[in-house]
Symmetry: C2
Subunit: 297 residues, 2 copies
């Protein structure tokens, strides 16, 4: 069995930065209560580790008073930020700079009186945060949104950072005939695009593709949705979810991971697959490609 890892996979810049900021906050404030508002990143295992280290996750801004609060990588709403400040909290802003950029762009578009359409998942914290920078003309849209032939003299379109670029372009193309001016901001981050392309390329020649990352992670779910168009694909959070039966007849395994998945977890999954390969009778080959010999895809 051969095991390959996608050329781009795992932690992105924004997630690394958020974890580093959390660690630094923890070191600098030994013994004090530290909170994140919502989960720092969408990885339940990392969130559990942070909790064990003393960094709690709170659900509401109003619960937090006079505390050290780390703003999660996906950002929070304008109102939540105002509440945190009003309640005397010290804020450590770990919002991904690419998410912050969407807030700036939305604020600019509102100031210039452009209705803002946000392409994304309306229930995702990042999108809820983005929408809070809009005004009464702003709304969240998807590829399925029916615009009923409405006409716009001007309109702006912006994306959640972890969406699929092809789906974003498709939506923009659908809006173009309805607008006198359409201002399209492609705010899908490079890490997302690179991970999607590398994962798709690897999936296209793997018998089985394993996507590792939080079930609540938007970018991980997108990787799963792309890879499953090429081959059999499993979305797991940890190596414990691997079922040896799924490897019957498999000669090439592809590994990829969302932007909030640490290398440690990718290595655990890799080791568990090697173990399965040794344990079972059905493996036809035991050749293994070193995990970190990256694909040239």
């Amino acid at each position: 069995m051969k095991i390959f890892r996608a050329q781009f996979s795992g932690f992105c810049f924004g997630v690394k930065r958020a974890i580093k900021m959390a660690e630094e906050a923890w070191l600098a404030n030994s013994g004090k209560a530290i909170y994140t508002l919502g989960e720092l990143i969408h990885n339940p295992q990392i969130v559990a580790e942070l909790k064990a280290g003393g960094i709690q996750s709170a659900d509401r801004a109003s619960e937090l008073k006079d505390s050290i609060v780390i703003i999660r990588s996906h950002g929070i709403t304008k109102a939540e930020k105002a509440t945190l400040v009003a309640n005397g909290n010290i804020l450590i802003d770990a919002t991904c700079p690419y998410v912050n950029r969407t807030h700036e762009l939305i604020s600019n578009m509102v100031a210039e009186n452009y209705p803002v359409f946000i392409f994304g998942d309306k229930d995702h914290p990042e999108v809820i945060g983005m929408l809070s920078y809009g005004d009464e003309q702003s709304r969240v849209v998807t590829g399925q949104t029916d615009f009923n032939g409405k006409q716009f003299s001007k309109l702006s379109l912006i994306s959640q950072t972890t969406q699929k670029p092809e789906a974003f372009t498709e939506l923009a193309s659908k809006l173009l005939p309805l607008c006198k001016e359409l201002r399209v901001f492609n705010t899908i981050c490079l890490a997302t695009t690179e991970r999607q392309q590398a994962s798709g390329a690897l999936a296209s020649r793997a018998d089985l593709m394993i996507v590792i990352g939080g079930k609540n992670s938007s970018n991980t779910r997108q990787l799963h949705s792309i890879c499953k168009t090429f081959t059999i694909c499993l979305h797991i959070e940890t190596e414990a979810e691997l079922d040896p039966e799924r490897f019957a007849g498999v000669q090439t395994v592809g590994l990829t991971a969302g932007a909030s998945t640490p290398d440690e977890m990718i290595i655990k999954v890799y080791n568990r697959i090697k173990e399965i390969n040794r344990e079972t009778d059905f493996a036809r080959s035991i050749e293994q490609i070193p995990l970190f010999k990256e694909e040239s895809c």
Copy 2:
């Protein structure tokens, strides 16, 4: 034989306005030399009539000194306007307001440092005029332009007023994946869109479609290109070009005309078709629908 006229066809607002301005200039300046720089509108017959009335068409701005100069409906370049002013001419600006709007938008985009891509025919006077408001980053593009995967942090796209909306949307969709921000201005005028839709709808149920207008008229050529996808289609300037042989077996004739074609010419063509129908033996029906009973298409 039944003859229908497309619901929207013939003179548009900008052309009517230009001719009215030329007539008023002629009345107000009796006996003085009046010029247009380039042809006032793209209709050789109207241009010939203007010439007979004393309104000459000049090819170069530098030829005109201390004269009354009507700026044609398609607009002129920034440099030509400056030369005309410097040479002491009195300018009567008959540039279509929708074309003027493109000049404004291009100037704004240059001021905001957006490269400007102009979708259109690089040799058409309107496009040459538009480009003159751009800067060294501005260029004329078509659906065939190869962008070689070049990436743009920001870009604006604007259209010649007489292009096909579908082709413009297609080009914008091609550019979207290359841009961090794409600002699309749909400057195709409503008269163009209405004439294209009404002509296509009529052509779809005509045995023969006649498109009337200048061979040098961009919007007339677009009508011809749309209609010929539905049925046999002839592009003529005058009724003299009608060949009776082409009406053999034809039961339904559709008439449409470009934005610079006067009603007089449409009526001449209509009368000639009626005449052909009477003259020839091959007409199977002589039923005629009044020309100006408009289609509900």
